[in-house]
């Protein structure tokens, strides 16, 4: 984090949504917003693009399905065909439960791991605390100090419309 940050602390979700919209409308780039819970509409307000994790999930699920089907057919008819109860060596219906389970398992685990990886979340990671109450009841809007926003005072008035509780400047993240 090379550049200093400008921080606005809000106390409810409507204010933060409003402030974000307003800030963006004013042409400032929002560095990030920190909230205690997923505030609906905030992602749109921030202009975040729809996540591509759905495709990741689909691909992983497809991988799981393919693994299950190929493995079962390969084992059942190529690697070691065995006469089990006189049934045909290959029977798709019998293979479906495992195929389904592996689809779900691969899809679920895959997307979670990708999400954690993308978000750089891992066990024991030291958090970068922007505000001590951000996981409690405060909503924090963060701007990066840039040519457009050189000072917190630039946005202070903007944010005061939204009952900003505190505006401060942070040299670097804790």
């Amino acid at each position: 984090m090379d550049r200093p940050l400008i921080i606005g602390v809000f106390t409810n979700e409507h204010d933060i949504v409003g402030a974000v919209k307003e800030t963006r409308a004013s042409g400032y780039n929002i560095y990030d917003v920190y909230t205690p819970y997923a505030v609906h509409g905030l992602d749109e307000a921030m202009g975040l693009k729809p996540s591509r994790l759905t495709y990741v999930c689909f691909l992983f699920a497809l991988l799981g399905l393919a693994t299950a089907i190929v493995t079962q057919f390969w084992i059942g008819s190529i690697d070691w065909p065995l006469n089990v109860g006189g049934k045909p060596f290959n029977s798709l219906p019998a293979y479906l439960p495992v195929a389904f389970e592996l689809t779900v398992l691969f899809g679920g685990l895959g997307v979670v791991f990708v999400m954690l990886f993308r978000s750089k979340l891992f066990p024991g990671k030291k958090e970068r605390s922007i505000h001590p109450r951000v996981t409690d009841d405060r909503f924090v809007l963060v701007l990066e100090v840039s040519d457009a926003v050189t000072d917190e005072n630039i946005v202070r008035s903007l944010w005061e419309n939204y009952s900003v509780e505190e505006v401060s400047r942070m040299e670097e993240m804790a």
Partner: protein, 463 residues
């Protein structure tokens, strides 16, 4: 989200909580010392768990013969308990996944604990297929892994193998789903932590969560995807468990109605268990404002619906036995109702069909005492349902020469008790160390149904 109509709705969370209050309320039990009540419950649970551990150790050391099984009844308490616990384990994921997809926002008060219950129930369930093996130390042979036996694989036609995949997938996905939901709350606790140890532990568990909206954004997608995956999964698990029976040839087991019947039964029993636990927990943990009487009532309605499906299934089973003109099928059902295990059958009918009908009455639905008692009855009834399906079908099958009676041994009873010991021990530990209510999610619905005049007011925005 159409909050503007919310004046027509009642708030989900009572007591006009502020965000901070929610955090405080939920975190309180974790931050104060354990109460005497907690200690006594915990000690009892651990004692029962130890009893179970002793019983299982003895069983594994000595042999499965220490159970009352015989040449004809090869499964009884073991698989009954397994199916019972898997069934219990259905409510949590149903609440967190299906109700999530259906936008049932009241789920937020109970989904955390219900999911925890699911995980613990699936753990209890998973123990039984393991210890019921004649040679439990070779359990890993059920997994298909390359080996030195010319690569002798596994039988992908066996429902037990499907079970292995279903249960392990279900457990994994449920655990991940639960844990993903837990990460923000862990961060909350981390930020509130006062001792170093807590800080370390919660930091370890919160994965460095900061509440960044960019993360929230991905998180929401993943949560939705997991819900979407878990929904068919939860339906598949009990369907597959039911296939242990449905794909067999034993009359009373071999039935195409089993998958939906089992799923409904599972949800039925799962919600009954959730009710049992919530009614106690809201009282003990003082979460009455979060888990409100409306929550209880809603769950009662689900119980009523699924109970109805279960009752219908009983009826259809009976009808099909008669309609099929299959002598073995007919006999099994007559034998259930009139044979030597008729008492178990009638306990099942009384508990699962008759008693839940009381929930049609709104007054009873909203009476905690009645609901609690009914939920206990349903738990008992659903255990007996599995017992009836397993034991009465096996004990008198095709050849009359092999007909037997089954009687559990003290080892089996102790093992069943031990599974409850494990369940409650884990649940009590959960209530002590992990937020009982999903803080982040409750905060999200705090405004739901709130009066427009309040300070934390409505936005004019619609989405």
């Amino acid at each position: 989200m159409s909050l503007r109509f919310s004046v027509l709705r009642k708030p989900l969370i009572h007591g006009d909580k502020s965000l901070a209050q929610v955090t405080d309320d939920v975190a309180r039990p974790l931050e104060t010392g354990p109460t005497t009540l907690w200690w006594s419950a915990f000690i009892i649970s651990v004692a029962v768990l130890i009893l179970g551990v002793v019983a299982v150790t003895y069983e594994i050391m000595t042999g499965i013969g220490t159970w009352g099984l015989n040449k004809t009844v090869g499964w009884a308490f073991d698989i009954t308990n397994f199916v019972f616990w898997v069934g219990i384990g259905h409510a949590g994921t149903l609440i967190s996944a299906i109700l999530f997809l259906f936008r049932q926002r009241w789920r937020t008060s109970i989904n955390r604990s219900a999911e925890a219950m699911t995980i613990f129930a699936v753990m209890c369930a998973g123990i039984f297929p393991l210890i019921h093996l004649g040679r439990p130390w070779l359990f890993f042979w059920i997994a298909p892994y390359p080996n030195l036996r010319g690569s002798l694989w596994v039988n992908f036609r066996s429902p037990l193998l499907w079970d292995f995949f279903a249960i392990s997938t279900y457990f994994t996905i449920s655990l991940v789903f639960w844990y993903i939901g837990l990460i923000p709350d862990m961060a909350t606790l981390r930020d509130r932590a006062t001792t170093k140890i807590k800080k370390v532990v919660y930091r370890l568990m919160s994965f460095g969560w900061t509440g960044s909206m960019r993360t929230w954004h991905r998180y929401e997608v993943v949560y939705l995807l997991l819900a979407a995956l878990a929904t068919p999964l939860v339906l598949s698990v009990h369907s597959i468990v039911s296939m242990d029976f449905a794909t067999s040839v034993i009359p009373g087991w071999h039935s195409t109605i089993f998958p939906p019947y089992f799923v409904a039964g599972a949800v039925f029993s799962g919600f009954a268990m959730v009710l049992t636990l919530m009614i106690i927990a809201r009282k003990v943990l003082r979460y009455e404002e979060y888990i409100t009487i409306d929550h209880i009532e809603k769950m009662c309605k689900i119980v009523l619906v699924t109970g109805g499906i279960v009752a219908l299934s009983y009826g259809i089973e009976m009808f099909m036995a008669w309609y099929s003109v299959n002598e073995y099928e007919r006999f099994v059902f007559l034998n259930r109702a009139l044979g030597p295990y008729a008492w178990a059958f009638w306990i099942m009918v009384a508990c699962n069909v008759a008693i839940p009908q009381l929930l049609w009455i709104k007054k009873l639905r909203r009476s905690l005492v009645t609901v609690f008692i009914i939920s206990i009855f349903i738990n008992i009834g659903m255990w007996f349902e599995r017992f009836v399906i397993i034991v009465t079908s096996l004990h008198r099958d095709f050849l009359p020469s092999s007909w037997v009676m089954y009687k559990p041994t003290i080892i089996e009873i102790a093992t069943l008790a031990g599974s409850f010991g494990l369940f409650f021990t884990l649940f009590l530990l959960f209530a002590r160390f992990i937020p009982f209510i999903a803080i982040g999610e409750v905060k999200g619905v705090l405004n739901y149904g709130r009066n427009a005049g309040k300070s934390v007011s409505l936005s004019t925005k619609t989405d």
